[in-house]
Symmetry: C2
Subunit: 223 residues, 2 copies
DNA sequence: ATAATATTTTGACATTTATCAATTAATTAA
DNA sequence: TTAATTAATTGATAAATGTCAAAATATTAT
């Protein structure tokens, strides 16, 4: 089933072919253009998303037009909008950073599977637990680290979790990098500048290369 | 079953008497003294907690000895330590603010119930979804509001969610109030002082009375 | 009760971070 | 390609918040 990636984190791994078919109508693969909104905060919808291809940002639209990017999702990631089994109101916005293909799964189908396959419920709970723990650690970073630490963390996150190499062309603007790191774009730019001057990174527009990962890790821990 | 409170939020409401008995051994009600640790971050344990009586703080022990109090739990609250179905490592510490009585439930018992009662899995997922949404909104508050807004929010949280009246004697120190609001104790004290001078609150030691809730709401939204 | 200890409050000052305006670079549309 | 628009960068300055030390209160143990 093309929407699913074979890996440890895949919450669908415990499902049979038949169960997968029940969950996903192949024709329900939707495409989004860059910058298109996939899920909109405060609206109501009953589907959850499984990313097939592309990258999207998951963010909260705060007061005063300030956005907080919670995470980036890509191929194989499963995400619900915060309304799952809980009123269907979406608690964050998801929008495409690159062209995105994804499956929209109706939430009611999930609970229907619990009875016949209880390890699927466990998988979903595990997924939520992980998300929870991620939010907690992000919360600590954002509140207890100085700006250089937060920028270092953002860069390492992009390298390790999203692009999986030391040199990459980001699909995010400086403003979006700032929204991930909880600071203004001006502050972000200044810190990137510092990292460049210390030969920790090399940047050219949206191309970023991490030259000294050790330093970055050190800064992200002690900043 | 004395450990459970009858209300909407109770995740056990869909269980039969027999299922409840399976889940909870009455003798497994544990008592903790003030300041005792119930769950310790980074240790491994397989139980989840249902609070019967008393108040406890759920917090993350950050770097540099800085704590972030995520929430306060009390009678009827259910909480897992972040290791549920996910390696059993606890991701935060829970410690008693007042004498606490609670039930410790082995996590493996939870999944055993999923097969025979699939709405229980849905309840658990709903609980996790809510927790997730709470963390997201807390994250936004802590990162996007100025100190007065965060203190106002903390006071309203204590009034609305914990003590449920306008005048209450807090079981938290100033340091702990600061840990809830993400600031130093000195900053917290200064802002309480400002609120007093504006006749928004009245304080005497650990006794706090909210005189002007409207202003507090306004500050928490616009701060 | 009294001393010892811990907590809360206050003040002066330093640091971190944001804001605003101006400039430069990059992207998009005609 | 060139103009028009948007994004990125830099500098000067202001605002928010933290640090450190001291004083005042409260709490605990003897």
């Amino acid at each position: 089933m093309s929407c699913f990636v074979e890996n440890e984190a895949n919450i669908f791994k415990s499902l049979s072919e038949k169960e997968l078919h029940f969950l996903i109508d192949k024709k329900q693969q939707i495409k989004y253009n860059v910058r298109e909104t996939i899920i909109k905060q405060n609206t109501s919808s009953t589907f959850v998303i499984c990313m097939r291809d592309g990258l999207a940002k998951v963010f909260i639209e705060g007061e005063k037009g300030k956005n907080l990017i919670v995470k980036i999702i890509g191929r194989g990631d499963f995400i619900s909008g915060g309304g799952l089994f809980n009123g269907n109101v979406q608690h964050f916005t998801i929008s495409a950073l690159t062209p995105v293909t994804c499956c929209l799964i109706d939430a009611s189908k999930l609970s229907n599977l619990f009875a016949e396959n209880n390890s699927f419920a466990v998988e979903l709970l595990r997924n939520h637990t992980k998300q929870n723990n991620y939010l907690l650690s992000k919360m600590v970073s954002l509140t207890q680290k100085y700006m250089p630490g937060r920028v270092a963390e953002t860069l390492l996150y992009l390298k390790d979790e999203i692009y999986r190499k030391s040199q990459f062309t980001i699909d995010l603007s400086r403003q979006e990098l700032a929204d991930m790191s909880n600071m203004t774009k001006e502050s972000l730019v200044r810190i990137l500048q510092q990292f460049k001057e210390s030969n920790i990174i090399k940047t050219q527009g949206s191309n970023i290369e991490i030259l000294d990962e050790g330093s970055l890790i050190h800064i992200s821990k002690n900043g």
